[in-house]
Amino acid sequence: MKKLISSYLLTFLSFSAFADTLLQDKMQIHGFASQGFIQTTDNNFFGDSENGSFDFTELGINASFQLSPKIRLASQLISRRAGEMYNGSLWLDYALADINLVQGDNFQLGAYLGRIKNPLGLYNDTRDVAHTRQGVFTPQTIYFDKVRNISMSSDGIQFYGDYQFENGTLLVQGGIGFPIPDKNIEIVYMGQDWEGSLDNNDLALIGRIMYEYNGGEWIFALSGASLELDFDATLSDSMIPLIGFNDGVLAIDYTIVSLQHNAEKWQFGKA
């Protein structure tokens, strides 16, 4: 049986800055920085954690600019160091145009265009930001770190809308986009880093429907993604006996049911 007991120290700071008073209404800049310490009794997680690991650093900076009353631009750069999986190089987390299409008395409808965070579960959108998640790590059964980039963001279009009912608010976000694969996908799903590559030529479907009852006292959500990646094998990949790969398709389907209860001092989540 796997045993993972972790003790941790996690510090974070976040800051907000406003460019200057003239731009204040239109421009917002925010950032975050966190450093983790992980110690485990068995199994290493993010570095040599059996002897205590500091290999868990998350940094980010983002900006939002209101171009016109209906169009807003936003982007975030992150650097994430996590064991041997991520080395801290800069990563374009999202870069999008937010277009507000319709605003009614009780509803609104809009679209995001560009690189968009995938709305999966309740935390995927901001899982790298320490002070927005409930634990040191997000639960690995839902928010896999091993193949995170593919579930983090996608390049495409997503529509969003909300409707305010008498007792709560319905929020919907979803659309299509090209997933963003990296070498970790091959290692996790295909056993090793192959010479061939996974292509993201096929559009993925991503979506979330969420109901916030009574201002978020109870939150119910259903979210999911469905995607396919084409593997283009090289000759040497297919020559390897027994475990060799020819060209093929890697299909991933992912559904998450989430429930959260918010009380004054307690928050319960179930996914």
Binding site: S16, Q24, D25, Q28, H30, F32, G60, N62, S64, Q66, P69, R72, A74, S75, Q76, Y94, A95, L96, D98, N100, Q103, D105, N106, Q108, Y112, I116, K117, D125, T126, D128, V129, H131, T132, Y160, D162, Q164, F165, E166, N167, G168, T169, Q173, N214, G215, G216, N262, E264
Partner: protein, 140 residues
């Protein structure tokens, strides 16, 4: 006799209940009287609704999270806890899907900003209301 007891009881209540200060919503004086439900107000404070029903932009002001006025306002007027609002704003800020409201540090600053910023909405204690801003608490 019953009536007398009732009167005495009411007088007793009046005497012993401390004058309660309520938190009320205030808007810029030029904003017309819109009918807003509690969920409409929540949506404005979540920074989701960003336009008044007439199409003009909303400018939301809030007081720092740990200020007791903010806590009371969240609990009594919105029926939410401050950490829930902060969670919604953070999710929007760090996923690029929205922005945070403008933060002020005192009731005086709140009243000043709301009275000087077109489209502004905020909140204060009812005993600090003056004619520079317009209360809309009665609609709730």
């Amino acid at each position: 006799m019953d009536k007398l007891i009732k009167i005495i009881f009411i007088a007793w209540l009046q005497f012993f209940t401390p004058t309660s200060v309520a938190q009320i919503l205030i808007v810029h004086p030029d904003i017309p009287n819109f009918e807003l439900s509690r969920n409409n107000i929540r949506s404005i404070f979540a920074m989701r609704t960003q336009q008044w029903p007439d199409g003009n932009p909303i400018h939301l002001f809030v007081i720092d999270d740990n200020n007791s006025l903010h806590t009371s306002f969240c609990k009594h007027v919105l029926g939410m806890f401050p950490y829930q609002l902060r969670g919604i704003w953070d999710r929007q800020i760090f996923s690029g899907t929205g922005i945070a409201p403008t933060s002020v540090s005192s009731v005086q600053e709140m009243r000043e900003q709301v009275s000087n910023t077109p489209g502004a909405i905020g909140y204060i204690e009812s005993d600090q209301l003056n004619s520079s801003v317009k209360p809309i608490g009665e609609l709730l």
